[in-house]
Amino acid sequence: MSEQLEPLKKNEISVNDVAFTQIETGESVGLLGHLKGFWIPFSKIFKKTLTVEYPEVKAPTAERFHGRHQLNRHPDGLEKCIGCELCAWACPADAIYVEGADNTKDNQMSPGERYGKVYQINYLRCVFCGLCIEACPTRALTMTNEYELADDSRTKLIFEKEDLLAPLRQGMLMPPHPMYPDMDDSNYYKGDVTHAHPSQDVK
């Protein structure tokens, strides 16, 4: 291979022209020194082990660990997200894409006028800084402790709204459905709505 290398030009320095730097070695530690070294691993045999057998065993994360995002729901099942894009605005990695849309009478997804029609988080970009959570004016976006976010393709790591929405809990109805009777969006934010009303079950 060396024949194929281009010949050096004038004044160019080759690798062999550079002098080796002698690495200085310390003085010999002696037998006592060796024994001292072996004592450390030996003493750990009697201590409690710290290794976690992941993935068979999954240790709980810290309570406020920044994991996968979640789009929350109001207690009657309506989405909290209003599609305002403040999360996308706050995101330093440009990982969030949102498109808002009108809530209509037949398609009420969240209280008030506006809901998030498209909601995507790109986990190839997300740095889990949590600025989006701080930006969210309705507490629609929070972070879970889920950290297993690896996959074998790029598209699978762009999470859509269905992937991010919180599951329906007790008393919730799957939107779209009308708002709680005689309540407006400010009642929702004040916490006046605690469960779905039978009249909201339009299906």
Partner: protein, 782 residues
Amino acid sequence: MTTEVVDMITVVVDGFEVSVPKGTLVIRAAEKLGIQIPRFCDHPLLDPVGACRQCLVDIEINGRAFPKPQASCTIPVEPGMIVKTQLTSPVAEKAQRGVMELLLINHPLDCPVCDKGGECPLQNQAMSNGQGETRYEGVKRTFQKPINISSQVLLDRERCVLCARCTRFSEQIASDPFITLNERGALQQVGIYENKPFESYFSGNTVQICPVGALTGAAYRFRARPFDLVSTPSACEHCASGCDMRTDVRRGKTLRRLAGDDPTVNEEWNCDKGRWAFKYVTSVDRLTTPLVRNASGELVAASWPEALAAAAKGLKAAKAAVLVGGRATHEDAYGYSKFARVALSTNDIDFRSRVSSDEEREFLAARVVGSSTTYMDIDRADHVLLVGFEPEEESPIVFLRLNKQVRKRALKVSAIATKLSIGVEKLKGKFVKVAPGQEGAAIAAQSLTSKSVILVGERAAESAGVLSAVAALADSSSAKIAWIPRRAGERGALEAGAIGNLLPGGRPVEDAAARVDIAALWGADSLPSAVGKSTNEIYAAVNAGEIGALLVGGVDPLDSDNCQAALAALDKAFVVSLEIASSAVTQRADVVLPVAAVTEKSGSFLNWEGRPRSFDAAVHDSLNRSDLRILSMIAEEMGTSVNLATVTAAIKEISSIGKWDGARASMNKVSVSSHPAVTGDQFILTSWRRLLDLGTLQQGEENLAGTARKTVAVISPKRAQAMGVTDGDQLKISTSLGSVTLSALVEDIHDDAVWAPRNSRGSQLLVNLGVAHGAVVTVVKA
């Protein structure tokens, strides 16, 4: 041009001296120094009103101070004035802070759902000149939100800061006082009249100038945030006014268009069509691949080389002509013009895909090409005469400019028309009532001066003798002529020589020196010398078997006055169609080549002044090619060379042509045809297109269509009485070809005439009746 002597006044703002013309407002004098005083109601093009009180400053004149801070947007500068803004006066600063706090008391905290969020003067100035915390603990005033004040404008009264920009715009600029401030005190609100929606052609401007999110457009509602949008300066493709625009694109899709700021043309305004009619690019069924008609007569998808070869073969096989619509850019029209002469060796090319005449073609060559009447001439005119031209419907920015001068200095406007229009009424114009076809006789009776301007519309070609009379009047009075077509590309196409009697740069085809000029530039041995055929002659020649192939770009055959002949010709000839979407032409074409829409390419239009309005591609990742590029490829395939692969190459070549310094073509005088006698239930039909109608470029925008004016048939009070018709009765207008039935409106119109919109819902006259102007029709009560 006279230079006005301007008195300059020197004032001190925040310790800096500045000299400004007498009458300048304090807020503008401060702007000149780069000092920004917060404001909401102030707008340089609207009368001062002092409604929001946000611009309070401390002022003293010759040592005497005003006892309280004053609104700097209402006070003109005076000699010896010392102004202290919020930057140097704690009093002004506190006053501004207080006003901001008051404005925010009832302002809802719904910035996250508000379309203005991110580009909101209230948001920005609350950050720069307000305080972070509110001291107000009461309950905010609420209103039902939002309410539609028209199908395209939404009003959220909670957000309004009562600056009166929208109401002042509607009253002062558009003369459409359909919105007003109702109630007083905390309940004061913008409102519309009962049962009268805000149906102004200029309503979109109120959305743009609203300093808060109180007025929003239905089309852009909740679509994006400012940081999502990629903005490109662009030009409007809808009419010949030539508005400067801004196109905002998100992920390859146009989401909104705003009026740009060009003081010489559109100032800061545009019309609703220009603002909201952009969905045609995506909503119609766009052509994505070339199509070629196969042996069994079906149009099937083909590859580009296949389609180009088929097009070249067909165009070479027979005598061919070119029809290019008035929507082409200047560069594309130049491409068609060159292609016709170089590749097809013919002058049979016409950009007028509408009702036209030979008189018009001569008029364009003799009077219009290369002429330079501008908006400035309207500003300075002593009298503006409108002939076959309805500014509000056909070139809205010309209307705004006329309206501005009417309001400012009572400019005299006369309209020679068959019907009194809303626009002319608003301009307080003198309505010279004529029977359809008799416009020419009325023109001669006008007395104009050298400072007058005659605005001639494309409809002047529809009555014989009108353009001859205009030319004669201009000669006798030295008044200026401006020809204002409806479509954006017509003036550019004229200058590019996309017409049978002219070569590029206004060179007459019949002039040997002119042909040598252009032949040298194009590297051709010689150019065809016979004057080419007009649109109707081309259709007739195809039907007679003289022409066998047509190259058609952006033409709607249903716009011509003989659409049956046009469709027959398209069926008969070998047609190569360059189009963005499926149309009556592509359905009949033998080869269809998809082209780029205006947002996907760069180029320029020449507006009615002849002023270039250039634009860049707003959507960058489109694979569609411009007409120009495709024409070059067909030419290569035919074995000749048009050599205009890019818009830049075309611009370079066009600029090297220069103006024609030889003799202009002359014009033959055409006399006015005689007035047909009408008896019984006969009427003479007259019509024009409305701004908002069934135009191809308005497809897919229902909100915009919702504010179109009502489709009516207009007859005079005398005839209405004779027929026993009152407003709202149904009238059936019919010819031998067909009929339309419209509700009647009794208005000021010539007794022999009936007017109907030319291309509105329920009234497509050229298609339904086969005529649009000057023909005798039968009108009966239905």
